[in-house]
């Protein structure tokens, strides 16, 4: 039996899950795998920045060589999106809500529509706009974004009336049954992307007013990348993996990439932020290529502008270089330094993939040993040495198999 777990699952919870599985489902052994590592493997990658847009929170985990490097979280996720959609719909049903104070309006909105129906609207009709800055994402050597596609995109955007159309906005009708009396709402299609702006991208809220746990998605990803060592960052930024239910929101992936490239363009990978830095950066004498402050509103579209990656130069290390050259002989060069999103099949498919390949996990827990010793029987610190050949790292998968010697075992990440 294989368990796929979030990497921050508390030990008491894990213990209870294992107790239940061993006593009620009679599994002989249980393997533990971490979901971000599996999402990476299910994308065909060894490293990546896994952005899990879930229900209660969005978790950004950087994975380097199947090992989790760091994790950042934000409450901006699907639950919040649902609440914003509810508010939008309720204001359309009862315009008086717009005049009410926020908590009152929210309580009143909950009386108007059922949760289920609101969720239904979220999954069926919500979408995410491309953002205001429409600088085209970087071209890839693979020739993915061809000129033709770019043109198609523009025309489709024009048809979406996103680019300053003056004609009447297209409407969609949404049948609602849980409000009394049941009715069909006519909603401007663009309205259906507004909740996403508020919920996931904190539109109109200056960054300085946001708490650490309510970072909008693009800032969360940017900050996460910023905290990484340069070489890991350059690998991870070319491997942004959006997973989770929220990642299915149409347009979200492109939007995240757009916002990110804007951020990188404006700020580079500099930890220092603030007015002085902005002033310095925006000084036309010092720098002509940079655009205006992020929070100041629309940024003029500069078509065809290349997004520089602003990577700091590596500290050159001759041995390192030699090793790198050596490994390149064997392996094709790794894509790095550019912004790129990769689709993953998700953690569960990743688990299934590894099971097909019979790849053992770091933590394989034996039923009898668990029932005898519980979590106390595990080797401490996630370290385990098997068959004296190699020691285990706290990585996602087992380092050495070592002919079934399970006399010592570990809870890996979860210890």
């Amino acid at each position: 039996m294989t368990l796929i777990l979030p990497s921050a699952l508390p030990l008491p919870l894990l213990s209870t899950i294992l107790d239940t599985l061993f006593t009620n489902f009679q599994a002989p052994t249980i393997s533990l795998l971490s979901s971000p590592a599996l999402s990476t493997a299910a994308a065909g990658l060894r490293s990546g920045l896994v952005v899990d847009v879930g229900w209660r929170e969005t978790v950004v985990t950087s994975v380097y060589e199947y090992r989790e490097v760091q994790t950042l979280r934000s409450t901006r996720a699907t639950k919040l999106l649902g609440e914003e959609i509810l508010m939008m719909l309720s204001r359309l049903i009862n315009p008086e809500l717009s005049q009410m104070k926020n908590p009152d309006a929210r309580a009143a909105a909950r009386e108007l529509l059922s949760f289920e129906e609101c969720e239904e609207v979220v999954t069926r009709m919500a979408w995410c706009g491309p953002g205001q800055n429409k600088s085209p994402p970087e071209e890839h050597t693979d020739g993915l974004a061809s000129v033709k596609e770019e043109d198609e995109f523009r025309s489709s955007m024009r048809s979406l009336k996103i680019w300053g159309g003056t004609e009447t906005e297209p409407q969609v009708s949404i049948p609602l049954k849980s409000c009394s009396p049941p009715r069909t709402l006519e909603v401007a299609f663009s309205n259906l992307s507004d909740p996403c702006e508020d919920a996931l991208f904190a539109k109109g809220v200056p960054e300085s007013e946001l708490d650490d746990e309510e970072m909008p998605l693009h800032l969360l990803i940017y900050r996460s990348l910023l905290k990484l060592p340069t070489d890991v960052r350059s690998i991870c930024m070319a491997r942004i993996i959006l997973v989770g239910g929220g990642s299915k929101l149409p347009g979200l992936k492109s939007r995240v990439l757009n916002e990110l490239s804007t951020l990188v363009q404006q700020r580079g990978w500099n930890n220092v932020q603030g007015k002085a830095v902005e002033a310095y950066r925006n000084n036309p004498k010092l720098n002509k290529a940079r655009s205006r402050n992020f929070d100041d509103g629309p940024i003029p579209v500069t078509a065809g502008q290349e997004v520089p990656a602003y990577l700091q130069p590596h500290d050159e290390d001759p041995i390192e270089e030699a090793l790198r050259r050596e490994s390149r002989k064997r392996n094709p060069p790794m894509e790095e330094g550019s912004l790129r999103a990769i689709d993953s099949l998700g953690a569960w498919s990743g688990g299934s993939l590894l099971s097909h390949l019979k790849v053992p996990a770091v933590s394989v827990i034996d039923k009898d040993q668990w029932l005898q010793h519980g979590s106390l029987g595990a080797s401490r610190g996630g370290e385990i040495s098997v068959s004296s050949r190699q020691s285990m790292g706290p990585g996602a998968f087992k380092t050495a198999g070592g002919g079934g010697d399970r006399s010592s075992w570990t809870l890996g990440l979860w210890a």
Binding site: P12, Q26, Y64, D142, E149, V172, S254, S375, G395, G401
Partner: protein, 585 residues
């Protein structure tokens, strides 16, 4: 007014014996003292955990070896057969492993309304003489008789009327063929041959199949991404696995062996930098490079078409979340939905978790619903039914309980055993919870007759019936209404006994401040308690502790050849029940 039907739930005793939750951090498990004092307390049917241990009697089994009630939590399930609920074909478990848990014949559910789909021909039905014997030709479609959806709507037709599952797996929505795993493999081999130096050797020599040329930037669907990824990983493992390079001897190090796999797939000895060194030396597995290998790069603006479709076609074109849940991939639009192959079902036998004896075993044949063995608790422990003592007028049928007005209920215990049983029942004086109703059992001890032949009762009926009649008239005469006596059984039959329980329903209004206990007042001051009635708090649920004693044969089973009838054994069974008697109005 919602209707209320009185109910009786039984608590399986296994909840008490469940192992205490290990206390992480401390070396000792939860102290024994606290758990034993827990046992002595009255069972609270409103405790959050109670829901998981209460069952109607019909849902419980009984282990004859442990002499104990068994609930779904203390039995082990074993799958006897897998079968398709639609065509009732048995599926061998090996096939379930390889093909998955869905029917692979022609059984499908409608993706719109989940009604069973039927195969029909698109050709006009033949007419004239012998029409009923003429077979219709293809092409065929799947049709929904309920909502008249047809697979034609998603551009799918079939050449043959049978084996729909296999045919469907080869067609995408819209009618394009699916590139099969086999074709992908062919293509892969072709490519590796092209890149390999030296003369091309065609081993099998068969080239009749057209090789599909694949695009390295192909937009993969989930299934082909999975199969490409799997092939890629396998190739990487195979490349690096041969028996060289491994430090230890013995064992099988073909790919698939943990030794080889873990060395390649995985990874990590020490720090990042030491690691790079070892990686370079050993040549770890690389990442996927293109769509052939399962890499799927998100093309910029790849979702624009989706958004445009959402805008142009609107709500009606999107699939509901119920419909999406039935699909194996993400299907935002109705046009993405595919017919749902029927999920297989199982027949299971159940074993006692303690002694592993079989408690329930269905007939293996799928068409029958009979059981070979079925030890239901209904045949071993007395059932309890509840009804109000005062005969209700028809208009009063669902009359709620009146607060503070004593109301009497009749509990009828029916004995399924062939021995008479002694029954002891006990309740706390008040129901647990915020609104405490007072409970009095008028007759807590009584004997229930054996479940003997019905004929015997018929023969004896004469005298008994008269007696019952007498009793009732006497009671009615005394006060003009029914009056129960303390310590006496209300009514008695061949294998049943009715006793009276009196309930004084609590008032649902918050008790005035001076009546509140110290603790309650404290709670209220802290704002922890609010006076509103929470969901189902107005239902009077009486916890009842039942103890049943009887004498049973012991020698009955183990071939009591020489043994005389001395093998009488005293048996005892004790458990909590919950009686839901009514809602306070």
């Amino acid at each position: 007014m919602s209707t209320f039907t009185p109910y009786t739930y039984f608590q399986c005793p296994c909840t008490d014996s469940s192992p205490p939750v290990r206390n992480i951090g401390s070396d000792s498990p939860t102290s024994i003292h606290s758990s034993s004092s827990e046992d002595e307390k009255a069972f609270d049917p409103r405790a959050p955990r109670a829901n998981y241990s209460l069952y109607p009697l019909e849902h419980l089994l009984y282990c004859e070896d442990c002499h104990q009630i068994r609930c779904p939590r203390c039995v082990l399930d074993e799958i006897v057969t897998y079968y398709c609920p639609n065509c009732l074909f048995e599926v061998p478990s090996s096939t379930v492993k390889s093909e998955g848990t869905r029917c692979t014949r022609s059984c499908f559910q409608c993706p719109i309304c989940i009604a069973p789909l039927s195969v029909s021909s698109l050709e006009a039905p033949p007419e004239g003489l012998g029409a009923e014997h003429a077979s219709q030709g293809g092409p065929y479609v799947l049709n929904c008789p309920h909502c008249s959806w047809s697979s034609k709507e998603i551009g799918i037709q079939f050449d043959k009327p049978n084996g729909i599952f296999t045919q469907l797996s080869k067609i995408k929505n819209g009618g394009d063929p699916v590139i099969t795993a086999r074709e992908r493999r062919k293509d892969r081999e072709e490519r590796s041959r092209d890149s390999a130096p030296g003369p091309v050797t065609d081993e099998d020599g068969v080239q009749d199949e057209t090789v599909v040329k694949l695009d390295p930037n192909e937009v993969l669907d989930a299934e082909s991404q999975f199969s490409n990824l799997k092939a890629f990983y396998q190739a990487q493992l195979a490349e690096a696995s041969p028996a060289n390079a491994l430090g230890f001897s013995g064992g099988d190090y073909g790919y698939g062996s943990p030794g080889a796999l873990s060395r390649i797939m995985g990874l990590y000895t020490g720090g990042t930098y030491a690691d790079k060194k070892s990686k370079a030396k050993k040549g770890t597995m690389r990442e996927a490079q293109n769509a052939f290998e399962g890499l799927k790069i998100v093309a910029p603006n790849s979702e624009d078409a989706l958004i445009a479709k959402l805008q142009n076609e609107g709500w009606d074109a999107t699939s509901s979340s119920l419909q999406r849940d039935e699909q194996s991939t993400h299907t935002p639009f109705i046009s993405d939905l595919r017919p749902i192959a029927y999920l297989l079902r199982t027949k299971r036998s159940k074993r006692c978790k303690t002694c592993r004896h079989i408690l329930s075993k269905p007939e293996a044949k799928i068409q029958t619903t009979r059981f070979r063995i079925r030890l239901v608790a209904l045949n071993y422990i007395p059932s309890i039914s509840i009804k109000p003592l005062q005969p209700l007028l028809s208009t009063q049928l669902q009359a709620p309980l009146v607060p503070m007005k004593p109301t009497q209920f009749l509990l009828t215990f029916k004995n399924p055993l062939f021995e008479s049983v002694k029954v002891n029942i006990a309740t706390p004086a008040q129901t647990p919870g915020r609104f405490a109703s007072k409970i009095t059992i008028l007759c807590p001890q009584f004997e229930v007759g054996a479940n003997t032949d019905a004929w015997e009762e018929a023969l004896r009926d004469g005298s008994k019936g008269v007696e019952r009649e007498k009793r009732r008239t006497k009671a009615e005469a005394s006060e003009g209404q029914l009056q129960a006596e303390a310590g006496k059984v209300w009514e008695r039959g061949r294998n049943w006994v009715s006793v009276v329980v009196e309930v004084i329903p609590a008032s649902l209004k918050p008790s005035p401040d001076f009546l509140k206990t110290e603790a309650q007042r404290k709670l209220a001051e802290e704002g922890g308690e609010d006076d509103r009635v929470r969901e189902d708090e107005d239902v009077v649920e009486i916890p009842v502790f039942v103890r049943v004693e009887w004498e049973a044969d012991t020698g009955g089973e183990d071939g009591g050849l020489g043994k005389e009838k001395e093998g009488r054994e005293k048996r005892e069974l004790a458990y909590w029940c919950v009686l839901g008697v009514g809602r306070i109005g």
